[in-house]
């Protein structure tokens, strides 16, 4: 059983996201990655590659269409971490 929960993953994601210009004071579970943080396709891909390495999982790029918020992304990661375990 993994110790990672969507809540702990959200905290970790804040760490990955804080380098982006619009992140300061703007990070919450319902923050929208594209609309609120202005992450473009290249930013998102770089972010996913880093997250994959951190959790040792594979995040398919095609699933990004279903992910709007930080909470959505954390839920997907939690599911993949659980599947891996």
């Amino acid at each position: 059983m993994s110790t990672e929960t969507p809540e702990t993953i959200i905290e970790t994601l804040y760490g990955f996201l804080e380098r982006f210009p619009k992140a300061a004071g703007n990070l919450g579970p319902d923050t929208k990655l594209a609309d609120d943080l202005s992450l473009d396709s290249v930013n998102l891909m770089e972010l996913l590659v880093e997250i994959e390495d951190h959790y040792d999982i594979g995040l398919p790029l095609n699933m990004m269409g279903d992910i709007t918020t930080i909470r959505d992304l954390a839920a997907k990661i939690a599911q993949l971490v659980e599947d891996r375990a």
């Binding site: 891909m45 594979g58 398919p60």
Partner: protein, 399 residues
């Protein structure tokens, strides 16, 4: 929500470029003076932002072949090959590509973009796994996305990172597809294809290489970087375009697997697109003959590439790669890149301005592409223009 919402997004992109003073949509080549020079804004301008690598767009034999085909076969095919029939010239060019690569199968598509889209949409289905280089062209991403397959990016040109991502796929790595390009069009760097191919083989994955920018300019006979790296017999699918070294319009895929032919029955971009015009096919076929018969074109291109690379490096510019037919000057600030792009145009030199996200990893690019048809005098003028537009160059000259 209305379908017009995206108008606003696109207007923002346009306005952002206009704020930079650099809308590429405004560039019109009013009259051609040669393969490497045109009139832009009423001024003779050296073209260092085309992909006319072998300089064949005004080759008399190619133009003659295209004109002859138009007279004999008409101006257009008026439909797709599956719905409306193939012309003998389509089949002849496919045979020529198969012979050139010594493979059983070749297929033509109507553009380079549609070649990758058509191959990937036909090959892949939901549940399949693809691992692609993060710098891959949009048509590779789009083909994967439309197919419904799960696709993952590996760090650019990093075989160890590819291995890591294939390992994470577990048993699904076997039978997955790994995709790389020969020459990457933005940075002008080449892929470590032999190493990537070895990793793909290690995991039982298929290996596809897009040679859009490397066909005609790499390899002893011009078959691309796969030939140069000695892996032609190991790559499963090689794609390419007619719109660069082959001076025409269209694309091709070759494969050592005879099953490639089956894609004619399942590739929507092949089935539902009008086939390439007789003139385009004839021009590409004549250019393919030139690739085989005139190795001096490749030598001229490389001499020009080395000269421009040395010249720009000598000026202290930060270049994205070593010498290649694409030489990209990296400029961290987008506004400075736009200023330089406009100043280069004023100096009579056209290059490509590439800003993120089209430019990888943050820095804007002033992308120069070389041609065998450039003269050394033109290369030196390009270098002189880059010297003149450096920040502070005017101030320094005035002192």
């Amino acid at each position: 929500m209305s379908i017009t919402a995206r108008f606003n997004e696109m207007a923002q992109i346009r306005d952002g470029l206009r704020e930079l003073g650099a809308d590429p949509a405004r560039i019109v080549m009013e009259r051609f003076l040669s393969p490497t020079e045109a009139v832009i804004d009423g001024r003779p301008t050296i073209l260092a932002g085309t992909n006319n690598y072998l300089g064949l767009t005004f080759d008399p034999e190619i133009i003659e072949a295209a004109c002859k085909a138009m007279h004999e076969e008409g101006s257009g095919t008026t439909g797709s090959r599956m719905a409306n029939g193939s012309f003998s010239s389509h089949a002849a060019l496919e045979e020529a590509f198969a012979r050139f690569y010594d493979v059983p199968s070749a297929m033509l598509f109507s553009t380079g973009y549609q070649t990758n889209l058509g191959l990937l949409m036909a090959l892949l289905q939901p549940g399949d796994k693809v691992v692609l280089d993060s710098h891959s062209h949009a048509c590779i991403y789009d083909g994967c996305r439309i197919s419904g397959a799960d696709f993952f990016a590996f760090r650019h040109n990093d075989p160890d990172d590819l291995r890591k991502r294939l390992r994470r796929l577990g048993g699904a790595a076997e039978g997955s597809l790994v995709i790389a390009e020969g020459l990457y069009s933005m940075w002008g760097d080449t892929a470590p294809l032999a190493d990537l191919c070895a990793v793909a083989r290690e995991y039982g994955a298929w290996f596809m290489v897009d040679e859009a920018h490397s066909f005609g300019v790499y390899g002893e006979t011009g078959r691309g970087l796969c030939e140069e790296e000695g892996i032609l017999d190991q790559v499963d699918f090689i794609t390419g375009t007619f719109s660069k070294s082959l001076a025409s319009l269209g694309g091709f895929c070759v494969s050592r697997h005879p099953e490639l032919q089956l894609l004619r029955y399942g590739s929507r971009p092949y089935i539902f697109t009008a086939s390439s015009s007789p003139a385009s096919i004839a021009a590409a076929h004549a250019a393919l003959r030139a690739v085989r018969a005139r190795p001096e074109l490749k030598q001229s291109l490389w001499a020009n590439a080395r000269r421009l690379h040395a010249g720009l490096e000598g000026l202290g510019y930060r270049l994205a790669s070593g010498p290649s037919p694409v030489i990209a000057v990296q400029v961290p600030a987008h506004e400075e890149a736009a200023r330089m792009w406009n100043a280069l145009l004023a100096e009579g030199v056209y290059v490509n301005l590439v800003v993120p996200p089209a430019a990888p990893e943050g820095a804007s690019l002033l992308r120069c592409s070389l041609s065998a048809a450039h003269s050394f005098e033109q290369i030196d003028r390009i270098v002189a223009a880059f010297d003149a537009v450096r920040a502070g160059a005017a101030t320094a000259a005035a002192r």
